[in-house]
Symmetry: D2
Subunit: 427 residues, 4 copies
């Protein structure tokens, strides 16, 4: 495989190609194929962007059909039939069945753009500058979003400090015996605690980049009620956890909360095309025309495939149930692997919701060994968490049971290998 | 046309659909077609995103072929054949013939993302926080980029002030007799002038949103030499003016300057797909792995169409010459229209470079009347400038002479209409 | 008493004159006298500025003598004999006996100025922007210091957010069973917790404005060791708690910690004259000449009285022991008052160190009733805490036992009155 | 003279003691005396703090009398007779005769504190974050004030960028043929010029630290009218130029403008005691009680001497006329010196208003040589300007003609010396 071109021309900022230093060429369903024809089971799936698998045939067909008609590709924020179809499908298949009443904003087609739009609108509506985010939260790296993203890797290279964000501890951050919302609520009520009353709270129900940290459903309900009691907007960033990843379309459905705003992106287009939207309660839609813009906010291809995805997968609850079923499979296998590692002297634990799952092996070093070994054997799987200590499964939701088991087998072999090496070293 | 769905569900932030309140369905070359089958000549072209026209057949074919092979759609920043092809074509067809030596960063696929990456890298490299931008400059609306964007419409709705940007007057801002760089140079050398020594200057050679303000070629050369003399990086934001719009691939080629960094987006993919890159001199590529990221930084479709556009249009200078030729046509017609308006008591003037041209009619009101009348007669054309006072032509570069003349005829009729109404009113 | 002048000309920002709406004219020791000749015991003492009492005769004499010689009054940062005397006395009487090795910076003569200087120097030395402060901390209201001050009253009227400060919970903030430094230490070690690695921690060992919150001595030691382990500077803001208030010259002596920097002001001049200094370990003195300035940084009168105070009160440990003895008296009486209130159904508790003591009565309303009643009876006493819920004793350290008991008696009568009213209301 | 104590203990930040490395002990009128008994004529006068001379006998006497009565020294913002006397004198002697209607805020007793209060109030009243300041303006170094101070020396050592200030060119900055307010007015009216509509403009009528830059009276009037037309508050920072320095009590009286707010400090107390106030039009006094504070805002000594200064010097216009007369003397001598230097090949020019005057010798190097030589001969005189290129006379306003001439003679000898050395070197 010729990689010299990349080494010569591509910025050092590249990262995934360091873990998987091959040149990919094709992809289908749960598999990626490199230039030499080698196939890999993909448990990364575009970091949660390919919930319906690579080149999903239903979505691809819808796109090919659209292209054939010379449909508008790029429409700024003009009205197009593609956009109308998307709005109608989203309303009929997602909002109405869930009794949700939202207006839709299409910002630039990236998650960070949606977050910037949401927090800017929150500040405008509430006339307060502060946005509360949570430890280990990730909401994007453009400067506005970065104020709510905890990672030093990004925060320390900005040249100017971020402005207008405060962090409070996520569920479980202070151990099992402490409800972190006690601390948040105390700070909110404290006139000299240093917490500026926020316009909004932004939260992921399951933190993806932060290490598959799962918020409790009661914790989320309480967070919602604290927000209500204090006239603070609740923004759920469902960019990674949404679109079915946790076993429901929106990850917050499990808890029965109704956010004031929602951000979606990643798997929203279904086919991996750049796309994002912000949902907001109608009374919050206080934008004036043109107050937020972006060249690619009318990318029709993404609307076409998003519409196809909604129609194919979200007309009834079959897909949700299927995701939940597969989630159980991963959960059980991950518990087994965690036990295996713990037994070998490497304490580990499983966690997650739906098909967003991880094994916390406590150090990035062990996690890297496992994922490195897995890659050698044909599995693409990545880590997350502040130290990269969580081996993370974000496989496509449409993965077949065979592919899933095959991927899990490769992972188990890698775990055994690492556990065995440890046993040998200890001996 | 059914527009009720939009009115019910779409955020008030929508803007172009207010100027053009129809539902578009198809597009080809220089034309857009609405749901009723009415055709419009398009002088907006995705605000500079569709330099090669809607559904350009060469680019579309490349995309359809790629889709047929189940090529990787979304690859994060992994290596793919699509990316290698793009890098190689860009190097061979663009960089080498121009003696340019740049490394390439693919950030999130929007212009604002590219700008955020460029200014963050500049700050990191130079260890200074300030970025100098110019009056009427536009570089995006996410918070980092917004520090360099002059528009109050965006700046006043952020809830927190922007941080780390300073504005100095663009070429011509203080009248013909003042070289605005005298002021900039004085501030740079002044230890108590209030200008923090910047890491970088960011500039558009022709300001698109700012009103088709054209910087002089000598002014640009002097700006480059001031930057060199003061150890300041020169970033040219070629998002709107690049990709052939001014008659050269890069707009700065006219002046013979060599920026330290370049941002491209908009027409970079050619087909209107979200795409952006940052070019940087190799020694500036001081990113550490993963210090800047974004889910959609590996959107292969855009690379495939971008490669096709490069190969089809940039293998020789024929396309450039063609753009320059058409630019002359628009220039002459616009001069005539400006004279017509001036004669009718509405002072107007023409300006621009290549096919990025405008008529400054001095008030947004007159400009809106002209573009409104033009739309009635089948021409999509927009305004820019701080008050929307510049009627702007950003037609596709591939427009046929017939289409171009037809569009210009519609515009001329609109101008006559507005001039006539004024004459009647004055009488 | 003529107050109309004030009502006509003085800004609404005035505050203490609302609690004590009389016109004061003279003051001596622990007493203030109003225009009608009425005397008040002063338990406020300039909010901690008059540790040696009003018009302390030793200090006053030194000043009068100095004035008589036409000594330099205002010397910018030129060298004067007054400054040399001050430096020598401070070195001999304070630094050497405590084995402290500090250089001295004289910033503008206010506490907030000293804090601005200290945190700016910390950022410069460590090349990091963040400063960690604690819930309920107060370090001044100019914008730099305000980033470390928790009070919303000040933070919400700035028009721009503060920049470069983060808050973590002070000792005891999360209840007795939680060591808040566990949380701080976890955040420090967490690469995605949202806490930017700070240049410095700034802390009051006893929070004055925050409500007489006393940090544990072990907690302080641990804070010091966390700072050392993480290459973070420890700044102790001893503006209110220093100069003997807690029974030692520096409040941190109790814990045996050695801060990297110390800020003093308030009682530093002794006579109530504006004065402040920053102490810093010599290797931290990385200021370049003139990098921080202020017109009144060479106010000799304050140096003269400060020197006199040092010589008179700090040549041996007698004064410290005396403060400790009186602190015990207040402690016991306050415990009694707290018990009295609790018994009457108004839960209350005593806390403090040395002569910096308070009764937390849990609501500002009760506290205001007590202090209002006390004022009627000739005692000036104020509240602190986020809701003004802590009745606070900051009486001069030189108060006589008679005056102290008289003040405490007035306070006890007020407490009884409020407790009785409650009993009546409940009945 | 023993200076070792300073060298050992004093922070490197010290600056004036580097120009004048002697130890001063006494001061009277226009003279300073060092420890060896050597006298120096003082043309620095506390950087404008000692307008009435060192140890002015009238002011000193008032202070001594006050001390003798055990008057309140430090009163927080409680009401005192000293404060009432000050308010009444200020109203009767300053405000009423000038038809000015202001309320008075006493912030912390430093200039930077007054500026912080004024700009915070402006932001609060106008609900806008931006404050416009001018090139070479100096308004203090605490972080809020620093946003309006142009000096890189201070701005580059803050660790965080300043927030909420924008700079526009001061009168004359772009040469004689350009009215810099044309540029400011254009920016104000430009919706995409990058200038956020400011809450206030802050300006010195004569820039002291910036280099004795004198704004034209017409320019000031126009600035006032631009502010009015755009609903922007005009804050005149009269900290250095006020209290008679320019020949009127307020420097803006010359132009006949009426600012919305005024800041005074430096010579306000008269004797060199720390003191500052903010004046504001009554309808702007929208502070809530306690929204801005500071321990030393009730420093009675300063009010006592300030009252004495008002009564002694400002009961009629004799003092103003005297200052104007002496200003003429300095002006003429400085013109002569400038001519002398210019003739010797060192281009120089004179400028100033009243007794705030300078000779611009174009380089800091020449200026340092002149002031260094003058110091050798017994004259204390400093430089200002971005490069220290302006030799500055801020002698006390009460200086005798003899002392003034003696000081000017020393300066002339120094100039001759430097001019002569140049002639020799050139030969």
């Amino acid at each position: 495989m010729q990689t010299e071109t990349f080494e010569r021309l591509e910025s050092n900022v590249r990262t995934y190609s360091r873990s998987f230093p091959v040149v990919f060429t094709k992809a289908k369903g749960a598999c990626l194929t490199d230039e030499n024809g080698r196939e890999y089971i993909d448990f990364l799936a575009g970091a949660g962007t390919l919930n319906y698998g690579h080149n999903n045939p239903h979505l691809k067909q819808a796109l090919v059909d659209y292209i054939a008609t010379d449909g508008v590709v790029h429409g700024l924020d003009m009205w197009t039939t593609a956009k109308r179809d998307y709005f109608e499908a989203f309303e009929e298949l997602i909002l109405k069945p869930r009794n949700l009443d939202y207006k839709i904003q299409l910002p630039g087609p990236t998650g960070t753009n949606a977050v910037e739009a949401a927090i800017r609108l929150a500040r405008k509506v509430k006339q307060r500058h502060n946005i509360v985010a949570f430890t280990n939260g990730f909401h994007g790296v453009t400067m506005g979003a970065l104020a709510t993203t905890g990672n030093r890797k990004f925060r320390e290279n900005t040249g100017v400090p971020t402005l207008g964000g405060s962090f409070v501890p996520f569920d479980g951050y202070m151990g099992d015996s402490t409800d972190t919302l006690d601390y948040f609520e105390k700070l909110l009520g404290d006139k000299s605690g240093g917490l500026d009353v926020p316009a909004a709270v932004i939260v992921e129900t399951v933190q993806g980049e932060g290490g598959i940290n799962v918020s409790g459903l009661e914790w989320l309900k309480r967070l919602e009620s604290i927000c209500h009691a204090n006239d603070i907007l609740l923004i759920i960033d469902d960019i990674q956890a949404g679109c079915g990843r946790t076993g429901k379309f929106f990850s917050f459905e499990h808890a029965g909360v109704v956010p004031d705003m929602v951000t979606n992106s990643k798997s929203l287009s279904g086919l991996g095309l750049p796309f994002a939207h912000v949902l907001m309660r109608p009374e919050l839609d206080q934008w004036k025309p043109g107050q937020y813009n972006g060249t690619f906010r009318g990318f029709s291809y993404a609307m076409v495939t998003a519409t196809a995805a909604l129609k194919h997968y979200w007309s009834d609850d079959a897909f949700e149930l299927e995701v939940q079923r597969k989630g159980k499979i991963v959960e059980e296998r991950f518990q087994k692997l965690a036990a295996m590692l713990s037994k070998a002297g490497m304490p580990a634990s499983e966690r997650g919701r739906g098909l967003m799952r991880g094994i916390d092996v406590e150090t990035g070093d062990i996690a890297d060994k496992i994922t490195g070994k897995a890659f050698e054997n044909g599995l693409i799987i990545e880590t997350s968490g502040q130290d990269g200590e969580v081996v993370k499964c974000l496989c496509s939701l449409t993965i077949t049971d065979d592919e899933l088991q095959k991927g899990l087998d490769i992972l188990e072999a890698a775990v055994k290998d690492v556990a065995g090496a440890k046993a040998t070293a200890d001996a």
